[in-house]
Amino acid sequence: MNKSEILLICTSPRRKGTSAMLLERVRAAIGGKMIFLPQSGSLNELVSEMQQAETIIISGPCYINTYPAKLIELLETASFTGGFSGQKIYGIINGGMPYIHTHKHGLTCLELFADKNNLSWQGGFILGVGAMLDGKPLEKHMSRRKVVPAFDQFVRYITSGKQSPDSLYIDVQSPPGKLMTYLFSKLLSSMVVKRIKKYGYDPEAPNWYLSNR
């Protein structure tokens, strides 16, 4: 595979977050050009790079159950421009919730985009509890013993140009049990509440827009 024809697109506005970390992990194995989705201005140049690529790998965070708006703009622009010729496309999406279903729409959206625009959907990887990593290596993930080998297998599928099955990420991320669910929600809540209080706010208070506008 010609390395210059591998395009890695990070759809996160954060340059050092988990989406970028995962994409770097792919690039370390396969090479290619990594691009951060421009947060303003035209996307035409990026679309033409997508057309010239042989393999496209998209990695992004999960915002309200799917990829951020900027990726949707890129897909809309790419679809409007057209001119794809069977490019292979893989997707990676990560979010805070420990459930596959929470983040699933991101990959579905990419697959539907690929089907409609003559690209070849090759599968993806959903990573739950990814937000907590905040860009730290995958080896720090809560379920590192299962998740690291699975993600590295995903990278091998990309390297060999093969389709990656959904079972790869599903099998290594079972939802937490009752006790873990309880502890997890308490831990996460205490973290956000601590931050809110640090800035002098009461988390129970009515929203700012209710009292000020």
């Binding site: 708006a69 949707i72 420990p98 539907l112 929600s185 809110i196 800035y199 706010y201 700012w208 506008r213």
Partner: protein, 178 residues
């Protein structure tokens, strides 16, 4: 109040829906996201700390926030784009995090978040021409997942781009009756 936020760039379903609500005597505010200046969320997390509950991006989203936190029903109207919503509507959805409840709760055995407006009913109306089964399923799933994570009630509807007044009236009626 019922708040409609629509993307009218590919159809006028949002306008027809507004007329339907008005004809029923429902108080409605309508905004066209495609004509507003709304920037994408940059994940600065100011809304979860320094300016808790408030977004610091000074654009037209600031007109929508006071209504989102007050409305009884929020209706997002969007062309169906790859089984989801359009860029214009997705920008609004991403930015809604600022008026969400950042804490974590448990519902039906799973961790969820919530909205600062706990009474919110959340609707999505997707439209298009010859929308495939796969796209329809994906669109309904997206709404269902949104509902779970926001811990609100509501429903998603799908209609043709050229849906007539009668078809839209049925959707409006269902939203009002809930």
């Amino acid at each position: 109040m019922t708040l409609i936020i629509s993307d009218n760039s590919k159809g006028n379903i949002g306008m027809i829906l507004k007329e339907s609500f008005c004809a029923m005597g429902i108080q409605v505010a309508h905004f066209a996201a495609d004509t507003l200046n709304i920037k994408p969320c940059v994940s600065c997390n100011s809304c979860g700390g320094k300016t808790y509950g408030r977004c610091v991006i000074p654009d037209d989203m600031q007109q929508l926030y006071p209504r989102i936190v007050r409305c009884q029903a929020l209706v997002l109207v969007s062309p169906i784009v790859f089984g989801g919503v359009s860029y214009h509507i997705k920008k609004v959805m991403d930015r809604m995090a600022a008026v969400g409840d950042p804490r974590y709760w448990i519902k039906d055995g799973e961790i969820v978040k919530g909205m600062s407006n706990k009474e919110l009913r959340y609707y999505m109306v997707g439209f298009g021409d010859n929308i495939s089964e796969a796209e329809q399923t994906a669109f309904l799933c997206l709404h269902k997942e949104n509902q779970i994570i926001m811990n609100v009630s509501g429903k998603a509807f799908i209609c043709d781009s050229l849906a007539d007044k009668q078809a839209i009236n049925i959707i409006a009626r269902e939203i009002v009756d809930e």
